[in-house]
């Protein structure tokens, strides 16, 4: 697929879009919290992937990580440039979680297990961290600051959770 992108095959980009637009849009939306802006960023993101695919270096990680980095940077730039109100975070979370829950049942059951079921298998501490980082769009420093947990603890707890998740998600 990456080769397809590099030789500018549109089918490759279409596959990429169908496969990743939801997860990337989720990441963007959790940062900017406005649908129209998030959609604009998503479109720019895929245009950038199309133009800059030659910059992707597989030795530095998976394609998803590369795309995620671009998505995050674009979203963060946008919140800065528009001086968007980040204080509303908690209010929007319920709406966000609902949206995921609704979609989760319909389209995103890739491996048959929903996010909630996966997270339920983690300890409470670990579930909390993963929830904040992956579902609510907090950064590690934000979690550390807002909930009074040392940043080092946030990092090691996430590490423990990710090891646990490998077993749950059957990653070898």
């Amino acid at each position: 697929m990456i080769e397809g992108l590099k030789s500018k095959r549109q089918s490759a980009l279409e596959y990429l879009y169908d496969h990743y637009s939801g997860s990337l849009y989720g990441i963007i939306f959790r940062i900017v919290r406005q649908e129209d802006i998030a959609e604009e960023i998503l479109q720019d993101l895929f245009l950038k992937i199309w133009d800059k695919i030659d910059n992707y270096d597989a030795s530095k990680g998976k394609l998803f990580t590369w795309m995620l980095n671009i998505a995050r940077n674009q979203a963060i730039d946008k919140t800065r440039s528009k001086e968007m109100n980040k204080g509303k975070k908690t209010d929007d979370i319920d709406y966000l979680v609902n949206k995921i829950d609704n979609q989760g049942s319909a389209e995103l059951q890739i491996d048959g297990i929903g996010l909630k079921e996966v997270l339920m298998e983690l300890s409470e501490d670990q579930r909390f961290i993963v929830n904040q980082l992956y579902l609510k769009g907090y950064t590690q420093s934000e979690v550390a600051e807002e909930f009074g947990i040392p940043l080092g603890t946030v990092k090691t707890r996430l590490r423990a959770a990710m090891i646990e998740l490998r077993t749950i998600l059957k990653i070898k």
Binding site: S23, L24, G26, S59, F64, T65, R72, R159, R166
Partner: protein, 265 residues
């Protein structure tokens, strides 16, 4: 570096979340290239992280995809291909740029080195010239000072000028003394005198009460007024003899060169 300790810090998880600073990310990427075990661990973390994000996905509206592909189709693909250089072309470009830069740098370095050398020698020459000018100026200044001082003596009516004419020993010689009897200042001015050998010097005498009094030795080449010794009052005659270098206590009369009387009879 202990890889397990490094992994245990959770830095790879942060990397997969895209949360590291530019600097931290560069460091992780450097380590990834160096330690295969690190890369393996990262792949597992990325996989788990990616799956979580997939499960937390939110679908954008369908229009986004339509709009995106309209834009993609509008992009001039062929042109794009030629604009985006292949890595080979990049290498060639980079090499060409490097060579051009190196050539240009060498040329500039050579040119400026030459310019510097020329400037350096010009500067040395100018400095030497400047020094000569300063010396000349000083000499002229000193001479001017001397002439000014001399003219003060010559113009001063308190000084009497006594002309000493050549004797039969030296008929061509001519000199004058300027004498202020009140202050006893005495100056000598040579108009014409022959040059002596190294061993000998001219000596000026003042005859007071018929006795010669030493008024100092001098060279014939001296220019302007030469200050001589102060002598007493009542000089009747000034005379010059040739004496061994340093002068003598009493004159050798046979060598008398010139003489002039103070009394204007």
């Amino acid at each position: 570096m202990n890889i397990q300790d490094y992994i245990a810090t959770g830095i790879l998880e942060a990397y997969a979340l895209g949360e590291l600073s530019e600097h931290e990310r560069a460091e992780v990427e450097k380590n990834l290239a160096q330690y295969p075990a690190l890369k393996q661990e990262l792949l597992k973390i990325e996989e788990a992280s990616e799956l979580l994000f997939m499960k937390a996905a939110i679908n954008p509206s369908k229009e986004v995809k339509a709009r995106l592909f309209e834009k993609i189709k509008a992009k001039p693909v062929g042109k794009e291909m030629s604009i985006v250089p292949s890595s080979m072309r990049m290498w060639k470009l980079a090499a060409a740029a490097s060579i051009t830069f190196a050539l240009l740098s060498s040329y500039m370095a050579y040119t400026y080195w030459n310019k510097w050398r020329v400037s350096e020698s010009n500067l040395t020459e100018l400095l030497a010239q400047n020094q000569r000018m300063a010396e000349d100026y000083n000499k002229v200044n000193q001479r001017l000072d001397k002439i000014e001082a001399d003219s003060k003596v010559i113009d001063n009516p308190a000084f009497t000028r006594i002309l000493m004419k050549g004797t039969s020993n030296a008929p061509q010689s001519l000199a004058s003394v300027y004498w202020n009897e009140n202050t006893q200042e005495l100056y000598l001015s040579i108009q014409s005198m022959r040059q002596l050998s190294q061993e000998n010097q001219y000596q000026l005498w003042a005859i007071i009460d018929g006795k010669p009094v030493d008024a100092g030795v001098f060279e014939s080449i001296a220019s302007g007024l030469i200050k001589m010794k102060e002598i007493g009052k009542g000089v009747t005659t000034f005379a010059v003899t040739i004496e061994p270098r340093g002068g003598k206590a009493s004159p050798t009369l046979e060598t008398m060169q010139m003489a002039g009387n103070t009394v204007k009879s």
